[in-house]
Symmetry: C2
Subunit: 497 residues, 2 copies
C-alpha cells in the first residue's frame, strides 16, 4: 500500500498562494456550518516521523476556527490512563457533535510501533486492527465522520527532514530510532492501512515530501469530506453590515473621554511598529528560542498557563497561532472560552478553568479566560457588583495556586485603538474567509468601549502580580504585537527555568 512514488509531487509557491485563499474561505465556511450539525469530525494525522505531521496539525489549526477544533496529542499516558482499558484515553479525546478533533497520534500508533519493535505477534497485531475497525465503525454508525490522513515519506526524504529538524531543535527523542527501522515501519504501516481501509473510514495517503503539496492535499481532503457530509447545502449566510451599522458604531464623542480616564491602557504606546523585514527576522528568532525553551520546560516538568484577553479584532487568535507555531503540538492545548456547557453552568464559575489545567511540563493557552468575570460579566451585568468585586481576590488565589508548583502564569491584554478596531471590522466584511469572525455582538461590544476600558484598567491594577503578571500588548501593528508576545514568553520562561 505504501509504495515509493516515481517522483515526488510538488506544488510551486505561486500555485500554492493562488489556491490558498479560496481553500481557506471554503474550509472556514464549512467548519462554521459544522457547528449546527449533530455529528463530530475526527481527523487522524498519522505517518512517518519527520513527514510533517506536526506542521500539518499546526496548519489545520491555522485554517480552521480555533473555537471549533481541538487537537489531542497521544503521548505519555498518565497513570489514570494506564490503569484503565487502553481505549479510555481515546474516548476522553473524542470531539462532541458539531466540533472537530485533530488526533495527533491515535489508536493506530501503539499497535504499529509495537509490531515494528516485535513486541506484538502478527496474530495479536491483527486483533488490534480488528478492534480499530470495530471502533471506527461504531463511531461512524452513529454519524461521526473520520478523516484518516497518512503522510508518506520516501526514505531519503525522511533522512533530510530529520536532519533539518534536529538542527532546529524540533526533534523528538524517538525520531532517529524509528528512522533506522524505516523499511520495517513502512511494511507494518502498509499492513495496518490495508486492514483498516474501510468504506466508511478510508485512508488517504499523502505524498509528504513537499510541504505545499501535502498541506493543500490535506486541506482539500478535509474540505471535500466536510462538504460531502454537509450535503453541499448552500453556503451559510454571512452577516452583512449596512452603512447604518458602520455609522452607528463609529466611536462618538462619548467614547473619547473614557480613554483618557483609562490610566493603564493610556500608557500603551500604540505607535510602535515593525517593518515586514524586521518582523520576519525577529519572529523567526523568538520562535526558535521559544521552541527550545518549551522542550526544556517539558523536561523540567514546568508548565505554562497563558491567558489572552483583548479587544474584539485585537488579534488574539493570530497571535496565539504565531505562538503555537513555535511549540510542538504535544506540549500545549489551546482552550477557547465561549458559553459554558450545562455541566459547567452547574458549577462554580472557576470550575471550567480548573478542568483544563495542564499536566506537569505541558501548557494551556486560554483564548479568553476567567477574566470574563470582571470584563464581559461586569459590563453586561451578568455578575453583580459583589460578585465581580470579590472575583479579584478569588482570581488572585486561583493564580497563586497555578504558579505554586513552579509554573509560569502570564497574561496578555492586546490593546488597539477604537479607530483601528473599526478598520479591522470593515476589513472582515470584505475578506471572505474572515467574515465568520464578525458578529452583531462585536458591534454591540464596541459601543460599550468606555465601560470595557474602565473594567480593563481595574482588572490590570487589581491582578497584576509578579507571579502572574499582565503584559499590555501594543496591538495596532499586528507584527509588533506578535513579536512582543512571543518574546515576552520566551524571556519570562528563560528566567523561570
Amino acid at each position: 500500500m505504501l509504495k515509493p512514488a516515481a517522483s515526488a509531487r510538488k506544488v510551486s509557491p505561486a500555485r500554492y498562494d493562488d489556491a490558498l485563499p479560496k481553500l481557506r474561505t471554503n474550509l472556514l465556511n464549512a467548519h462554521f456550518r459544522l457547528r449546527e450539525q449533530k455529528f463530530p469530525l475526527i481527523i487522524i494525522v498519522s505517518g512517518a516521523d519527520g513527514a510533517g505531521k506536526g506542521e500539518l496539525v499546526q496548519r489545520l489549526n491555522e485554517w480552521l476556527d480555533p473555537r471549533g477544533v481541538k487537537t489531542h496529542a497521544f503521548w505519555n499516558p498518565s497513570d489514570e490512563e494506564r490503569e484503565r482499558p487502553e481505549y479510555w484515553r481515546f474516548w476522553r479525546a473524542l470531539p462532541p457533535a458539531g466540533r472537530m478533533g485533530i488526533l495527533f497520534g491515535s489508536w493506530y500508533t501503539e499497535p504499529i510501533i509495537k509490531r515494528v519493535m516485535h513486541k506484538l505477534k502478527g496474530r495479536r497485531f491483527e486483533t488490534a486492527l480488528d478492534r480499530i475497525v470495530a471502533f471506527e465503525k461504531m463511531l461512524t454508525d452513529e454519524g461521526a465522520v473520520i478523516l484518516k490522513l497518512w503522510l508518506h515519506l520516501p526514505k531519503p526524504a525522511q533522512k533530510t527532514r530529520l536532519k533539518k529538524m534536529e538542527k532546529e531543535g524540533r526533534i523528538a527523542p524517538d525520531d532517529w530510532k524509528h528512522y533506522k527501522l524505516y523499511d520495517r515501519f513502512t511494511k507494518v504501516s502498509g499492513q495496518a492501512l490495508a486492514h483498516t481501509d474501510t468504506a466508511t473510514a478510508p485512508w488517504h495517503i499523502i505524498d509528504a515530501s513537499d510541504r505545499r503539496h501535502r498541506e493543500l492535499t490535506a486541506g482539500r481532503l478535509l474540505l471535500n469530506t466536510l462538504q460531502a457530509r454537509l450535503k453541499l447545502a448552500a453556503l451559510p449566510k454571512v452577516k452583512t453590515v449596512t452603512a447604518a451599522d458602520l455609522v452607528a458604531a463609529v466611536p462618538t464623542a462619548k467614547a473619547a473621554p473614557a480613554r483618557k480616564v483609562s490610566s493603564v491602557l493610556g500608557k500603551v504606546d500604540l505607535t510602535q511598529k515593525l517593518t515586514a523585514v524586521e518582523y520576519e527576522k525577529q519572529l523567526a528568532h523568538e520562535q526558535v528560542r521559544l521552541s527550545k525553551l518549551a522542550w526544556a520546560a517539558y523536561e523540567k516538568k514546568r508548565s505554562m498557563i497563558l491567558v489572552f484577553e483583548g479587544w474584539d479584532a485585537g488579534g488574539k487568535g493570530s497571535a496565539i497561532r504565531r505562538l503555537t507555531q513555535a511549540m510542538d503540538p504535544r506540549l500545549y492545548n489551546v482552550v477557547g472560552i465561549a458559553a459554558p456547557t450545562d455541566e459547567e453552568r452547574a458549577q462554580h464559575y472557576l470550575w471550567r478553568f480548573w478542568r483544563h489545567l495542564p499536566r506537569a511540563g505541558m501548557s494551556t493557552i486560554f483564548d479568553r479566560s476567567w477574566y470574563g468575570r470582571v470584563l464581559v460579566e461586569r459590563v453586561e451585568h451578568f455578575a453583580t457588583p459583589a460578585q465581580w468585586g470579590r472575583a479579584y481576590g478569588e482570581i488572585a488565589e486561583f493564580e497563586a495556586q497555578l504558579a505554586e508548583p513552579g509554573n509560569m502564569v502570564h497574561k496578555f491584554w492586546i490593546h488597539i485603538s477604537p479607530e483601528e478596531q473599526l478598520r479591522r471590522f470593515k476589513e472582515r466584511q470584505t475578506v471572505a474567509y474572515k467574515q465568520y469572525k464578525i458578529t452583531d455582538e462585536d458591534w454591540r461590544n464596541r459601543e460599550k468601549w468606555p465601560d470595557y476600558a474602565l473594567a480593563v484598567d481595574e482588572m490590570v491594577e487589581q491582578t497584576d502580580v509578579p507571579t502572574a503578571p499582565w503584559t499590555l500588548v501594543a496591538g495596532n501593528d499586528k507584527k509588533f504585537a506578535r513579536v512582543q508576545i512571543v518574546r515576552t514568553i520566551a524571556q519570562r520562561l528563560e528566567e523561570t527555568l
Copy 2:
C-alpha cells in the same frame, strides 16, 4: 476545641428506631427539593480514625436519594492529580448545583496529617488553613452550602473501635499508626477546626462514641442545614395515585402471554426466599467475605465493573446498598444513570460510561447502564432498530475491553413478577419516605411489561458471555435477592483473584 466529653452521649435503640422514620422521610423530601435548586450541598465527613466516618458515609448514602448524591474519597492521588495544583482534585469532585457531594477526606486531611507528622511548620500550616477558609468562602459566596462534620472520639473509645475493626478486616493500613499519635492529632485538629470555623461554613463536632447518637446527630444536622437553606418552604407535592391508576396498571390478559414467550426470565424461580434469621446470618457472612475480597482486589489492582438492571421497584437501590455496606467507601463509586447532560448528549452513547470507569483496584457500580440502549431506548423507540440491533455487538466489544486487564465485569437483572411490582408500587404510596421513588413514568413503563420482557430476553441471550456474565436475580423476596447478589459477587471475585 476538642475536649473529652464528661460522659459519652448515647441514644438507646428504642429512641433511635423511634426517631429514624421521621428523619428519613424529612431528609428524603428535602433532598428531593434540592434537585430544583441552583446550589450544591457539600458534606465534609472528617474526624479521628475509627470514629465511624466510613459507616456514617454509608448511612447517609442509605438515607438519601442515591441518584442525587455522590461520595468522593480522597485517597491515593493519581499522577494526573499530583502533576496539577493541590486543589485540582477537589475541584474535580465538587457536586454540581442541585446535588450533594459527600467528601470522605477533604482539603483538611493533608494539612492536618502533615502537621501531626511534623512535615509542616506551624506558619505554613496556618497558610494552608487560610487557603481553606478562602476556598470555602468562595464556594459559599456563590451559593454552595457546606456542612462540615467532625467525628470526635475519646482515646479509649478509639482503641476499642480499632480493635473491633481489625477483627472484622475493615481496618486501613495507617489506622494504628495514627492511633499512637492520638494526643497530637487531637491538638492539631483542634487548631484546624478553630481556624476554619466560619459563619458561612461552621464546624459541627459530633461525639462519635455511640453509633446511634452520631448517626442521628449527623442526619439532623444535615436536615436542618438543608431545610434552613430551602427556607422551610412547604413540603413538595408527592404524586398521589388514584384508584383508576391502580386499575389501569393491573396487568391485564395481554401481559400474560408475554411472560410465557420470555424464555430467559421464565426460568427464574421467583418462589425462592429466606427467613429473617437466615437472611441476617447469610448476609453478614457474605458481606464480611466480600469486604476482605474487595481489599484483596485493591491490592492486586483488579477492578470490578458491576451493572444493575431490573424492573422498576425491583430493589436495585437497596441491593446496591447491601453491597456497598460491605465495601470501604474509598474502593467504589456508584454511578446512577439518568438523563444525559448536554456534554454527554453531544457524544457517542457509550461515552458517558467510559468516563466513569474506575482506576485499577477500584470499582464502579452502575445503577442502570449502557443496557438502556437495548431496553428503554428500544421499547420507547428512542433508538432505531438498526441502532439497538448493532448495540449488542458494540456492548460486547466494550465489555471485552473492560474485562481485558483482568477486571471482573458482572451484570445483574433483578427479576420480579408483575404482581409483586404492583404490591410494591402501592406500598410506595403509603410509606412517606418512599413516595419520591414512584413517578408517572413507573406506571407507564409497567404497561409495557411484555415489550420489556422480550427486550430483556434478547439482551441476556445476546450479551451473556463468560467474561461478563448476567445473573438473573430472583427478586420477589428482597432478602433472597440481596444475599444472592452479594454472594455471587464474592464467589466470582474469589475465582477471579
